[in-house]
Subunit: 411 residues, 2 copies
């Protein structure tokens, strides 16, 4: 029986960084319409200033601020109205001393003016005269050329996961396609003699495989592409062949089941045979994730996950997201959470961090976190849960009534 | 000038519920592999119990608990080892008085046994005898038939947004395809004489349209399908035609720009002409979302969004998500948030709720929320922001140093 190399989740993350931070995914060019959610593979610099011209932020009159400096409700400034700028047109009507030009929100501001007086503070007296009832300061209601983005400025950096607003930035600087990292391919192998493919009718003693579906769905939602999906009995030679094929064709291989220390668990052996340096850790000091293998097989991560569906999904949630960001040169994202009051005592795990699954219930006084219990083999446990409460190592547990942070299960 | 019908966000949500809660999306059947993230359109009942047989949760020996009731380190119970159950096989080796049968984790438990003694607490003495060093209680390390899911039980309800774990539940009960609601189609129209389509070179005074890209990306990430995408100048007849087409072909129409009270804003008019009952509200008491129109045009929602890209995206984030869940008969989801310390004073908006965009920065002592400032026309504002701090109505603002909830911008 080989000794487990058990490490903490934080140590596992450091180990993955050391081993895979230089992993090269390759780059592809995509049109902007398909770029949301992808990771940028280039630094984006603005080729033009944004906005490209001085714009008004209000409907009003372009004026010289010194012409209205003394204006008041009781003592308006009178200005000569010389015309109007149309939306989308060049502002070819310079504002001279004592003059005003109408400018709608978003339109170009004519030369000569240094402020926009909001229409609310003016009155049209005749066709060519207005009264202004308030003073304006210089640059009031004006966005300068290049104020949002200067020409040549770095606007988005490689590694950024593009969100909707980023597409706006890219459009603004005239980019209609961008270089992004190729989505990493993940293969999923579920092992165990008791497991049949989901479309087969299980005989007595057999169960339908769950992990290929749940892990593939979670990986796809995270941003992976799914490669091979296999269900394999505890047959060492067959498992070795499948694993080798998946390893060649994928960036990451997930192998669920067979990673505890039992009589028929070949995972450790077959992963070890896949390439150097091999097994990095065998065991995560984390409940429910103990029987986890992390290997570097010829430069690619191969992950042995627990066979229990809930444990497999929870561990993949940690390792998969971490690897995805790492391979895409992206910062680790900030996880969404909700503060809630724990409704029951929950116990910790000696020497290990523990994750307690909870269901969040909104009440008039705030959120309650209701622990969801059951054997870890029960998939309904995770389906019922809306989040997890993390119980630190070397803590006996958390008493009922405590305000806790609940990390949301998002996919 | 028509008076704005300004209402609060909460009132707008109630109004949308009243108007659109019975909207019928239609139903389609999808294979499980494509079901993650979709909204279930049927109640799922289990046709079989899960698990279908009594299973062991540990590697160990199936025993009768009364046979080991007095067992101790110093006084082991000796049992006759009669054989072994194979993974994936029917357990056809009943356990009699004084007998034990080896059962690996996940395998079927033979009749007669009522507990599994973990292998760690036993010793193999001869080929057919073991010593047990601890007592077992009834049902120890056993999951009963149907313990996870009883046959006939309701396991998932219509309206549920399917997550990875749910696919595990569906697989368990033998479902390989499910009925889901058709994704609602949203069309996006961006209006304004200053706007050119993103692939055109803007002349002086013109700008590239941003809103079609950002709104379409946000809508798609939320779970909508994108229908028509149009950029239209302030041309009433043309806008009317485009809006009519989009309205016929889509479940929801978004129209950005032209909803403030200016000289050339036709949105209100063209939307009013689209069908009864028409405009429900014109103005949200919410910063930055004031110039928002919500209409019920012949039963379908038509939404007029602010022209400012940041405002449009923020308002769509509220209304779009609300409508999506409403149309899918789903509960409104719990938003992810992070507690952080505000680094600057931020001011509220009199009589309106205000959202202050912030950048979250992780420090050794926790998260900081750093306000991101700028004119609301600046798209970089939203790209830089990682979340929003919500300042209640009738609050002057929030002082620096306050612990605040930051709602994460997730797409």
């Amino acid at each position: 029986m080989e000794l487990l190399k058990v490490i903490t989740v934080d140590d596992a993350k450091r180990m993955m960084t050391d081993n895979f931070k230089d992993y090269i995914l390759g780059i592809e060019t995509v049109p902007l319409r398909l770029a949301a959610g992808r990771f940028l593979a280039e630094d984006i610099k603005a080729s033009v200033p944004v906005p490209a011209f001085r714009r008004s932020t209000k409907d009003g009159y372009a004026v010289r601020s010194r012409d209205v400096s003394g204006a008041a409700e009781t003592l308006p400034a009178f200005l000569k109205l010389t015309g109007e700028i149309q939306m989308g047109q060049a502002a070819d009507l310079p504002v001279g001393d004592g003059e005003a030009v109408y400018v709608p929100t978003g339109a170009m501001i004519p030369d000569g003016a240094d402020a926009i007086v909001m229409i609310e503070y003016t009155e049209v007296l005749t066709e060519d005269e207005i009264a202004v009832y308030r003073p304006s300061f210089v640059k009031e209601n004006i966005i300068n050329r290049g104020e949002d983005i200067q020409a040549g400025a770095l606007v988005l950096s490689a590694g950024r996961k593009l969100k909707a607003a980023d597409l706006g930035v890219l459009t603004s600087v005239g980019r209609l396609e961008v270089k992004v990292f190729r989505k990493p391919v993940v293969s999923v192998i579920s092992t165990g003699d008791e497991i049949v493919a989901p479309d087969q009718e299980p005989a007595m003693g057999q169960i339908r495989d769950i992990n290929t579906y749940t892990l593939a769905a979670s990986a796809e939602a995270a941003g992976f592409v799914i490669g091979g999906i296999h269900v394999c009995g505890d047959d060492r030679a067959k498992l070795g062949r499948i694993l080798k094929d998946c390893h060649e064709e994928s960036d990451i291989v997930l192998l669920s089941g067979g990673s505890s220390v039992g009589t028929k668990d070949y995972s450790l052996e077959v992963i070890s045979g896949l390439g150097a340096p091999g097994i990095l850790c065998h065991g995560l000091a984390f409940k429910p994730g103990k029987p986890t293998i992390i290997a570097n097989s010829g430069g690619k991560p191969v992950i042995g996950l627990p066979g229990h569906p809930v444990s497999a999904l929870v561990v993949f949630g940690i390792i998969g997201d971490y690897l995805l960001n790492l391979m895409n040169c992206a910062p680790q994202r900030i996880e969404g959470r909700v503060e809630a009051v724990l409704t029951e005592n929950v116990s910790g795990a000696p020497g290990r961090e523990a994750w307690q699954m909870v269901r969040l219930v909104e009440t008039p006084s705030g959120f309650e976190a209701r622990p969801v219990h059951g054997e870890s083999g029960l998939i309904t446990l995770l389906a019922e849960a809306s989040g997890t409460v993390r119980i630190p190592r070397n803590t006996e547990g958390i008493p009922a009534g405590t305000a806790v942070q609940v990390f949301l299960i998002e996919r």
